[in-house]
Symmetry: C2
Subunit: 268 residues, 2 copies
DNA sequence: TAGTGGTCTAGACCACGGC
DNA sequence: CCGTGGTCTAGACCACTAA
């Protein structure tokens, strides 16, 4: 009767239902509840079923239900305290991690047509900042790509991304009309697992202005990001600058965990 | 030998060490490891001890160690996969949830002297947007406060915060020189548990310009936020506008959970 | 093949909220 | 007082990585 599982694809044969794609049971429970919340089955502020009820409904133990709840909590859908049932505090954000890292995926999810015009590519020695961000040794090379990103033909963002040479070599072999480097990398087995973002306001330099169609000194919303693969190895460092009125970032934070922070302006 | 615990203050008598302030054991383990990571005891990219080692070191079960690890993971300090030890991918951010919501706490943590000049207060019927954000019924009243925030006397941010009337009444009774409303509210038993933030770029209106000392139309970094208490009830809705070069926001996101999202520009 | 984390179970006691 | 979530234990099997 033991019910164990891998993250993907399960040999199965064990008891219990399983998510359609063989996902872990706690993920299925979380996904189901998230969907129900999104469908308005619970009012905002409404009470969820108890752990015991859910455990019985899905035929799992309380621990598994709690794992599902922890997921929903970090996603900002529910709040919980001892003594009372969990309550709904938010709706599912349709944004996946993939859509956050990939301009192409994000654009498509909003119904727009993404485009990318390569402005320049460059392979050279990493400077000290790049070495620090990508955790590279002295003398290491990096591959830089600058691309103008468009939504339905309209310039929206200028992207300057630096990759370690191993990743850069994969990119160099891609067809020149590749829209999404992120997707291409994932197809090559380079998986994105974590990212650290810094969001602030900056001023357009000459290149920004020329490509985005604004004037030097005009304000831009800047997102800088270091992404790492599942082994913790940095695989990209990017500086993305958006024209005003094109994008907003949303974050959930909670006393329980907290991934958002405010910092004095400065570098990195 | 059972080791259970409340979140604060524990009757104790049970086996095992406890954090100095009677915190849960898994929080102590997480805090210890976070400190060690911050002290450079593990290289970035370095491997952590195994679950078993940590369980033995602290005299707890593997489940408790895993709870601690889950915390460190959501905080962006470590990455983990099946088959290999966890690795360090980040350093502890000194920002607590409280410092994120309270300008005063944040300023002090950076060594600056925070100030707040009340520009206006207002009690009136909530407009439809405010009712939606704070989940108030038609006809409900809100209390609005506008304050100019300063760092060491220098204007930095203009804060427009709307509170439900119950909270507003608490604020109305405060001394006029109260620096931190957030701290005052917490002292009154109004606790902050969750917040949903939206970060984008906006243009200074006439009031912004007059108070912040810039010109109308100048760019500002805007953070809008709805905070809820542990019961899931919204307790504030705020629109904070920062002068450029004063602040940056940092966020960690991961494939496992994800609290950051990118959205097309628009309302809320 | 051995080491290590991912998933799950079954049961226990406790703290808190609300009736 | 009772319902509910928070914390913890002890043990199990599995999937994945690396030697």
């Amino acid at each position: 009767m033991a019910e164990q599982g891998g993250e993907d694809r399960v040999t199965d044969g064990a008891a219990g239902e399983r998510g359609a794609r063989g996902q872990a049971m706690y993920r299925k429970v979380a996904a189901d509840l998230g969907r129900e919340i999104g469908d308005g089955r619970y009012d905002s502020g409404g009470r969820l079923p108890t752990e015991g009820e859910l455990a019985e409904r899905y035929g799992v133990s309380r621990g598994t239900v709690r794992q599902a709840m922890a997921l929903l909590r970090t996603e900002g859908l529910i709040a919980s305290r001892r003594g009372t049932r969990r309550v709904v505090i938010g709706v599912p954000r349709p944004q996946s991690f993939g859509e956050l890292l990939s301009f192409t995926r994000w654009a498509r999810s909003t119904g727009e047509e993404p485009g990318g015009l390569i402005v320049a590519t460059d392979t050279r020695l990493a400077d000290p900042t790049e070495r620090a961000q990508l955790r590279l040794p002295e003398g290491a090379e990096v591959h830089q790509v600058r691309r103008l990103r468009t939504l339905s033909g309209r310039p929206v963002m200028l992207e300057r991304t630096v990759y370690p040479s191993a990743v850069g070599e994969l990119l160099a072999g891609l067809p020149s009309d590749t829209v999404s480097y992120t997707v291409a990398l994932e197809d090559s087995g380079v998986l994105f697992a974590d990212a650290q973002h810094t969001i602030d306001l900056c001023r357009a330099d000459d290149e920004d202005a020329r490509l985005l169609g604004c004037r030097p000194g005009d304000p831009l919303l800047r997102e800088r990001r270091v992404s790492t693969d599942p082994t913790g190895t940095p695989i990209e460092w990017s500086d993305d600058r958006y024209l005003p009125e094109t994008v907003a970032f949303t974050v959930h934070s909670s006393a329980a965990s907290g991934s958002l922070a405010r910092r004095p302006a400065g570098d990195t």
